[in-house]
Structure formats: structure tokens, C-alpha cells
Symmetry: C2
Subunit: 137 residues, 2 copies
DNA sequence: ATTAAATACTACCTTGTTGTAGTATTTTAC
DNA sequence: GTAAAATACTACAACAAGGTAGTATTTAAT
């Protein structure tokens, strides 16, 4: 159960871009829209394109656009790309080895909630966020 | 949604002490039992006693013991004491102001899960963990 | 070709968290 | 009273995450 600030930034970026799935977004414009530090945002955009969520187009009228359909990108995929695989699934007591047959004292207490978190993150795609935004209008 | 390593250490300490609620635990023994760095553990014990969860007894045969009934200490209280009030309730996109009438795009998607997390942490007391441990035997 | 506007790469600075060290203080067995 | 065994206090070291800077590269309008 941990979500780095950088993962939250990634949510902001991709969630915002999902508003118009096929548009081209420049780093400069994104910076103004979602309040992520500009240089850090640029680095993160490069990172996200390396992970295959978006693709970058260089040159005078370049920018970033989705590399695949937004319905195929889940929040869990984004977190795992940024924070590392299994980052959400970590033991709540911080023990390295905590599996069902050698579990920590709080394992069962936490298990159900952890599954709920993972379920939400893995079942919510960027397209779902997109719809949500439209509803908000 | 954030749980610092220090909070996890606090869970380990208090969860372990809850096994025998009225016993006196020395820092040295706790260190051996729960693998928290000894000096850091001592500092954290002082901190936890200042927060009123436990009380310290100085002197030759001193140590730490609970300052109140373990059934009155919830996991949420522990997290909020260590990581700060509202640390769990933070916006998933990292925005400072994100309330129901000015919510972020992901607010509704995340709300239910967040409530589940808070409910679990606030309904689980150290005594519950204690019982869990007994069942494990 | 030149230039403007974008991304890419690498290195470094800053900040917060985690962990360590040294020393002081308290208490009790002897 | 003295020493042992515990906690308390303060400062700092180490590390990781977040953020910045400078420069290089790519592309297309002109």
C-alpha cells in the first residue's frame, strides 16, 4: 500500500490526456493544465512513453499522444510501471517474506482491504476516468 | 493512501506487545523479536509513549508496557500519530484541495476504496490483532 | 539552410525519511 | 554509594525521492 508522488503525477497526466484520447499534448500545455513541475513532467512523459502508454512525436509540432486505446490502460498498470511491480501488494508490516503459509500477524486483517485496492486499480481504466470527467461537466 | 516505514514499524512493535498486554517489554528484547533497527526502535518507543499508547519505565528493570487497554488502540490512531492526521485520506492525485464539491477526476472512482481502507484501520484494534495471533498458533 | 519548438539525455541539487552515534539521565540491585 | 541496565535527548550521517539545469537532438515551417 504505497503510491509515490510520481505515480500520482502519472495519474494526473494520463487522466488528463484521456479527456481527448486522440489529441496531441505538448509538455508545456500539460504543465499548465495539471500543475506538475515542468522539467519533472517532461522526464516523466519520456518515462511513460518508454513504458508504452503514450508515444512521443518530436519536432516543431510534436508532443505526446496515446500509444494504445485508453480502455486497455489500467491504473494498476500505471502504478506498477512507476513504483515497481508488486508495490501495492507489499506486506503491511513491511516484512519481506509474508505469504499465506508464513504470514505476518496482520496478514488476514489486511488481506481483504488489499484485494479491494488492487481490484479497484486493476478494474479502472483511463477510459473509465474519462467518462467520469464527462459526467462531472 | 500512504503508510510510512515507520508506521509499519509501529504496527510491528505494538502488535507484538499486544500478545501479552500487561507484560513489560525491553527495547533490547523487542529488537530481537521484530527486527527493527535497535536505535531507531528506541526512538520510536519514546515517540509512542509520548503519544500515550505505551508508558516507559526507566531504571534497571525498566521497559515499556501499555498505557491503556489494547482494545482502545486502533490501527488508524497509530498511523495518524506517526504519519500525521489525514495522511490516509489524502487525494489520490495528490491535489491539496479535493473535496466533494471541488473533487479531482478520480475522486469518485477512489472514494469507496478509500473508505474501505479507513474503515479497516479504524475498526481494527490491537486486541483484534492479538486474537488473530492466538488463532494462528 | 535556418530557426523555432518540441523531446532526450545526463548530471546534479534539494528535501524528507530512515538510521546511527554519543552522551545524559533515571532507577534499582547490590 | 556504586555500578548496571534501562530510557531520553540531540545532532548528524546515509539514502531515496523529488525536482532543476544545461545541453543535445529531432523535426518541420519558413
Amino acid at each position: 500500500m504505497n503510491l509515490s508522488k510520481t505515480s500520482k503525477y502519472a495519474f494526473r497526466i494520463l487522466g488528463h490526456m484521456a479527456k481527448d484520447e486522440h489529441a496531441l499534448y505538448s509538455a508545456q500545455q500539460l504543465h499548465k493544465d495539471i500543475y506538475v513541475p515542468e522539467r519533472y513532467l517532461r522526464r516523466l512523459l519520456t518515462d511513460l512513453s518508454k513504458h508504452g502508454f503514450i508515444k512521443s512525436i518530436q519536432g516543431r509540432h510534436g508532443g505526446f499522444t496515446f500509444a494504445c486505446d485508453t480502455s486497455t490502460i489500467t491504473l494498476l498498470q500505471i502504478v506498477e510501471a512507476i513504483d515497481g511491480q508488486g508495490s501495492i501488494n507489499e506486506c503491511i508490516l513491511g516484512y519481506d517474506i509474508c505469504v499465506f503459509n508464513h504470514s505476518c500477524p496482520m496478514h488476514d486483517v489486511w488481506e481483504e482491504t488489499k484485494l479491494k485496492i488492487i481490484e479497484t486499480l486493476s478494474k479502472t481504466s483511463l477510459k473509465d476516468i474519462h467518462y467520469k470527467i464527462l459526467e462531472d461537466l
